[in-house]
Amino acid sequence: MRFWRKVIAIAWKDTLSEVRTKETVSSVLVFTLLVIVIFNFAFGTSQETMVLVAPGILWVTFAFAGVLSLNRSFILEKEEGCLEGLMVCPISRETIYVGKLLGSLLFMLVIEAIALPIFAFLFNLVLSLQLVVITVLATVGFVTVGTLFSALAVNTRAREMVLPILFLPIVVPVIICAVKASGLALSGEPWGSLSSWLQIIVAFDAIFLVVSFLVFAFVIEE
C-alpha cells in the first residue's frame, strides 16, 4: 500500500509539472500531427492505398512520438538534479521506475487519445474499440522498456541519441503485432482474428514489466 502511495506521488509530480508547463504533450502532439501529414505526401491519397498503409503510418508515428516523450521524461529529471533528489528519498529504485512509468504512460495515452481521432478523420477511417485496446496494450509495451532505456540514455554522453537506438529494435515485436492487429481492426475483422497478435503484445508487456522492474536499479545507481 505504501509502495503505491509513493508511486502515485512520483507520477503526480510529473503530471503536475506537465500540466503547468505543457511542454511534452503539446510538442509531441504537434510532432505527431506533422508526421501523419508528411506520410500522407509519401503515399498519395487514394482510399485503397490508405487502407493498406494506415496501420503502418499510425505505429511509426506512435513509436517516434514515444521516443520523443520518453526522452523528456528523464532529461527533465537530470537537468535540475531532480534525479539525485529522488534517489536520496527513502524510496526504493523500483518505486521510481513504476512512478516514472505511470507518468509517461499517462502522457502517451493523452497524446494518443487526441491523435487517434485526428488520424481517423484525416484518413477517413472508422475508430473502433479494438483499435483503442491495441493502442493501450502497445503503449504499455513501449513505456515499460522506454522508461528503463530513457533512464539509461540520459546517463550517457550522447543522451537523447541513445534512446531510439536501444528502444526501436527491442520494441520491434510490439510494432509488428500492433501494425498487424490495427490492419485487421480497420478492415472490420472480429476479435478472434486479432487474438494471437494481442497475446504477443500482452506477453511482451508482462515480461518486460518484470524484467525492467528488476534491472532498473542498476541503471540509475551512482
Binding site: 539509461l152 537506438i165 529494435p169 520491434v172 494471437s196 504477443i200 511482451f204 518486460f208 534491472v215 541503471v219
Partner: protein, 219 residues
C-alpha cells in the same frame, strides 16, 4: 597450451568440414549447388545465438557479483557474436538471391536475425557512449539481459507476421544422413572456432586491463 590444442582442434575440424561440404556431401536436388551454403549459414546462425546466450549469462553474473571478469566475458562474446551475425546475414542474402531471386526477403529467420544484429549493435554503442567504464559495463549488461529476453518474442512475432508459412524445405522433414553429418561437423568446427576466439579476446582484454593498471601505477 590449452589454447593451442583448441586452435589445432578447430583447424582440423574446419578442414574436415570443408572437405565434407565441398566433396563428400551430395548436391541437393532442388536447389542445386547453392544449397551448400546452408552448411555455413546454419552454424553461423547457431553461433550468434550461443554468443548472445553467453552475453546474457555474463551480464547477469556481472550485475549480481560486480566482478569485471564477467563483463569482459560478456563484451568479448558480444563482439564475436556480432561478427557471426553479420556473416549469417551475408550468407543468408547470398542464399536468397538464387533461391528467391532477390538479395533480401523478409523471411522470418532472416528478419529476426537482422533485429538481433541491431540489438547487439546497440549493446556495443551504449558501452562506447558511457561516461566511464564501470557505468558502460553496467548499462551494457542491462541491454544484454533485455536484448536476449527479446529474442524469442521477436522470433515469434516475425514468424507469425510472415503468415506462418512452413519454413524452407530444410527445416522440416529430415535431412539425408550425409547432409546431417556434414552439418553437425560444420557446427562443431564453428563452435570450436568460437571458443578459441572467445578465449583469445578475453585474455586480450585482461592484458589491456593489466596494462592500464600498470600505467596508472606509474604515473
Amino acid at each position: 597450451m590449452k589454447k593451442n590444442i583448441l586452435l589445432g582442434l578447430s583447424f582440423v575440424l574446419m578442414v574436415i568440414a570443408l572437405y565434407l561440404v565441398f566433396v563428400y556431401v551430395p548436391t541437393e536436388k532442388e536447389m542445386g549447388i547453392v544449397q551448400r551454403i546452408f552448411y555455413l549459414m546454419v552454424p553461423l546462425g547457431w553461433l550468434s545465438l550461443l554468443a548472445f546466450l553467453i552475453v546474457f549469462i555474463g551480464s547477469i553474473l556481472y550485475l549480481a557479483k560486480r566482478e569485471s571478469k564477467w563483463d569482459i566475458l560478456a563484451s568479448s562474446s558480444a563482439e564475436i557474436g556480432i561478427v557471426f551475425t553479420t556473416l549469417a546475414l551475408i550468407t543468408g542474402s547470398i542464399w536468397a538471391k538464387p533461391i528467391w531471386g532477390v538479395w533480401w526477403t523478409w523471411e522470418p529467420r532472416l528478419t529476426a536475425t537482422l533485429v538481433l544484429w541491431l540489438v547487439y549493435l546497440a549493446y556495443l554503442i551504449v558501452r562506447s557512449y558511457a561516461t566511464d567504464e564501470e557505468r558502460g559495463a553496467r548499462f551494457a549488461a542491462v541491454v544484454g539481459i533485455v536484448g536476449f529476453i527479446d529474442i524469442p518474442i521477436v522470433a515469434l512475432a516475425t514468424t507469425l507476421w510472415r503468415g506462418m508459412h512452413p519454413g524452407p524445405i530444410i527445416f522440416q522433414g529430415g535431412l539425408a544422413p550425409a547432409m546431417l553429418l556434414t552439418l553437425l561437423v560444420s557446427i562443431a568446427a564453428f563452435t570450436f572456432l568460437y571458443s578459441v576466439l572467445l578465449i583469445q579476446k578475453v585474455s586480450m582484454k585482461n592484458d589491456e586491463m593489466e596494462m592500464k593498471r600498470l600505467k596508472e601505477l606509474h604515473s
